[in-house]
């Protein structure tokens, strides 16, 4: 699905990541942890083709990222739902249209998928906020809207970068529950977070591999997690 093999990423003369090897198997759940600035976001960007490795090989659904043109990357992204910490939206559109955006850009008729959209908004608890503009939403609502947008195309993989970074504990538990539910539906999930308590809480619900970025390398975390 997504494979990194001896991948390095160099920026401004320095290595941000080096010798990273990882295979995201279908249906797996991974946490990626490490201190701020360790390279978690860079790692995620390598996983969805926003960055091209400076060494090694990154493959998205069997295609080497280096050989993919922009159209091929765009098509691959339709199979990967991404949730960023600073979730960005089209501020001039209501949340319902923002969530439906992946359908629109892929040429599907969002009007025909209204029922799915309604169900999805209900699932993330945003039914009453469907017509609100993104700037009117709270941090937690924005995170849930970003999650809804990431999964509306029913992607194979969900990548979440600090999805609970801007929300309180209760909301972070709710988001975690949603991600675990998605994993139970067969989706591959990778969550980057520096919040170890979130990982500990999740491990009671799902069998997750925990990876840690340290000294520019990704390694399996110890039993303390």
């Amino acid at each position: 699905m997504i494979e990194l093999e001896n991948v390095a990423y160099n920026y401004g003369g320095g290595d941000l990541l080096s010798d990273v090897t990882l295979k995201l198997a279908p249906g797996s759940f991974h946490f990626l942890t490490g201190p701020s600035g360790a390279g978690k976001t860079t790692f995620l960007k390598l996983c969805y083709g926003a960055l091209v490795p400076t060494a090694g090989q990154a493959s998205l659904f069997g295609q080497d990222v280096r050989g993919m043109d922009r159209d091929a990357v765009a098509l691959a992204r339709r199979r990967i739902g991404v949730v960023h910490q600073d979730c960005t939206f089209l501020d001039h559109l209501p949340i319902a249209e923002n969530v439906a955006l992946p359908l629109v850009v892929s040429g599907r008729d969002a009007l025909k998928e209204q029922a799915n959209l309604k169900d999805l908004l209900a699932w993330v608890g945003l039914s009453s906020r469907a017509q609100a503009r993104p700037p009117e939403l709270s941090g937690g609502e924005r995170q849930r809207a970003a999650l809804a947008r990431a999964i509306i195309m029913s992607p194979d993989v969900i990548l979440a970068d600090e999805p609970t970074g801007n929300v309180d504990w209760e909301m972070s538990q709710r988001l975690l529950t949603l991600l675990v539910e998605l994993n139970r539906m067969g989706k591959t999930v990778l969550v980057a977070t520096h919040d170890l308590s979130l990982i500990r809480a999740a491990k009671t619900h799902v069998q997750a591999r925990v990876l840690r970025i340290a000294q520019r390398r990704v390694q399996l975390a110890g039993a303390d997690l």
Binding site: A50, R70, D71, A74, L75, R77, R78, V82, H84, T88, F89, L90, D91, H92, L93, E97, L101, P102, V104, V105, S106, D109, A110, L111, R149, M153
Partner: protein
Amino acid sequence: MKALLDRVMTALRGDAQADRVVPPTGHTATLTLFSAAVMTFLAVFALALSLATGRLADRWSSELARTSTLRISAPAEQMEAQTRAALRVLETTQGVASARALSVEEQRALLAPWFGPDVPVETLPIPQLVEIVEDGTGYDAAGLRLRLQAEVPGAVLDDHTRWRRPLVTAASRLRLLGLVSILLIGTAMAAMITLAAQASLAANTQVIAVLRLVGARDSYITRAFVRRFTLRALSGAAVGMVLGVLAILILPPAQEEGGFLTGLGFQGWHWLWPLILPPLAGMVAFWATRTAARRRLAEIP
């Protein structure tokens, strides 16, 4: 050209859902509308100038080319005889449809602008003028001059070439100037719309990032911006075209006394020509925005 037109039409038909991804407002919207309106307004005048000078050039080169003047200078007692001789020569010249000596009244009218209406033409030693009208084939001017030299020594043939040619050249240059002006106006409009599109793309970096994140192809993003700018340019150009035509309508009508300046405008079916300007502006906007968008998207990693 047809391919470009097809692409413009496809872009205009658009996708109702996709239309909404580009924010609808902003200073670039006003700039595009305004520049398209002003440029099309100016283009209407350039077109009118070009068509008017074209008509003038045609008239000067066709009507004046068919007439010539014979000037006979002779002592008063020989004037009548030389005039008759000249007319005989002209009657037998191939390519001359008709020839007639101007009457005293006609010669007085010709001199009136300089000497006033009461000039005693008959008492002045002024030459007799003979108007020659050519037929479709025209005559051999050099041969006619030789014959006149032999039979009417005081006759000078003026086939108008000497002063007609620079006038026709001037009118043709003015027509060219009008067309070049339209071209320059189109180029200036393309430059302005390109700037507006670049500003809009720069201001909407977040929109582009979001669209790419959710799997939009660059061609989709380009189309969204291109459609927005093409429609704005079309609307602005339509307004500019209507205002330009109205301005031409209120210009004074063509008059002999006013000459060329009062004839600036459209005649007959030429009034339809301005209708071509808004689609042209749309095509210019389509091309300018597409180029700007493609370049900008290629710059963003």
